[in-house]
């Protein structure tokens, strides 16, 4: 599986500073959904949830820590003075926590998830299609809302770094155990094996 990764720092994020915390970037997007999206989106999402490898395309986008989609057609009511509204449309909420640059993120999203993009946003009013990515970027910018405050627990780590670290750590634990009972020669061999096994993740 080919993975798409993005290397960029906060200076190259291409978004409002308040959407940025270290290397982590917040994307928050709302869009109104056409009537048939109330049927299509739940079916599509259910298929994705039940499919064993259905999120593999998202995993290819190795710069995403976490993302979510929510479809809602009513807003919880809390009494006056909150206006009690009956929404005409369902609305799609999308958020992402990613690293890299905003433009590159949308580009990669468009190219890697070409079919999925239509399934997610095809029913949204104004969706211009995923490709070419220029009009799609304009669409996302128009529907994006900047965060007032954004927090990331490990802001300096990219998603790739986290995945690499989670791969290295158990192997390092095993090596620590081996260091307590192996002879120096055996340990040197185990150390070399550790380096070879974990080289892509170091």
């Amino acid at each position: 599986m080919t993975s798409v990764s993005i290397a960029a720092g906060p200076a190259a994020t291409g978004t409002d500073d308040r959407n940025v915390n270290g290397n982590a970037i917040a994307l928050t997007v709302f869009s109104a959904v056409k009537w048939w999206g109330r049927i299509e989106l739940p079916v599509f999402i259910e298929v994705l949830r039940r499919g064993r490898n259905s999120l593999s395309e998202l995993k290819q986008l190795s710069f995403i820590h976490a993302a979510r989609w929510s479809l809602f057609s009513e807003i919880p009511y809390n009494g006056p003075p909150q206006p009690q509204r009956r929404l005409h449309s369902a609305h799609l909420y999308f958020e992402s926590n990613f690293n890299g640059g905003w433009e590159e993120y949308i580009d990669a999203f468009s190219y890697v998830l070409r079919t999925g993009m239509w399934a997610f946003w095809g029913s949204s009013f104004g969706f211009p299609g995923a490709l070419p990515s220029g009009p799609f970027k304009d669409y996302i910018r128009a529907n994006e809302i900047d965060a007032s405050h954004y927090y990331a627990a490990y802001p300096d780590a990219t998603a790739t770094m986290v995945l690499a670290a989670l791969e290295v750590e158990p192997r390092l634990e095993r090596l620590k155990w081996q260091a307590t009972w192996m002879t120096p020669t055996e340990f040197a061999a185990a150390w070399r094996a550790f380096l070879i096994e974990t080289q892509p993740a170091l």
């Binding site: 949830r49 003075p81 986290v162 020669t185």
Partner: protein, 179 residues
């Protein structure tokens, strides 16, 4: 259509209506919070969190009858470890001071803005997630931080240990990693 949970992680999304007239004060407060010293650092199960003020829906010209919110809303979202109920217990105690400024200016919020009443308010205003994706759904914040530290130390040791003889390598490794 709900999927708030994936592996060990939970996607919490809460949308609350802001009292008319309090929007600017809330925005100023939230924008004044330091990302480096965020109140969410005290909730150690939080991977990512955000507060967003939603002024209104964006209307597309192709919509014949676009929806209007009628008042501004505060969106809070968090990607967290474990179950949401104990997380909200922690939030409603640990963030009690901040909650007064944040949800205390929202319609229907309890006063004082803390404890079980705040928890019930936040749960009432929760929007369920349809699809949740996490690149490492079984790792907790503690796991991730520990692993990042371990990887960093392994990289540093690998550079330092180049060319060491086996006995010196093992001794240096044991000293470096405390075994």
């Amino acid at each position: 259509m709900t999927s708030n949970t994936l592996g060990n992680q939970y996607a919490l999304t809460v949308v609350t209506p802001i009292l008319p007239g309090a929007e600017r004060e809330l925005r100023t407060y939230l924008e004044g919070l330091s990302p480096q010293n965020s109140p969410l650092t005290r909730l150690r199960r939080t991977h990512f969190g955000r507060w967003v003020i939603v002024e209104d829906f964006v209307a597309d010209p192709s919509e014949s009858d676009p929806d209007e919110l009628g008042c501004q809303y505060l969106l809070f979202s968090a990607t967290l470890d474990g179950d949401v109920f104990s997380y909200l217990d922690e939030l409603c105690e640990e963030l009690a001071d901040e909650a007064e400024h944040i949800w205390g200016v929202c319609i229907g919020a309890p006063h004082p803005t803390r404890g079980p009443a705040l928890k019930a308010y936040l749960l009432h205003n929760q929007i369920d997630t349809g699809l949740f994706f996490s690149a490492y759904p079984n790792a907790t914040v503690t796991d991730v931080r520990y692993a990042l530290e371990a990887r960093s130390r392994a990289v540093a040791f690998a550079l330092e240990a180049q060319g060491m003889e086996p006995a010196a390598l093992q001794q240096a490794f044991r000293e470096e990693f405390g075994v």
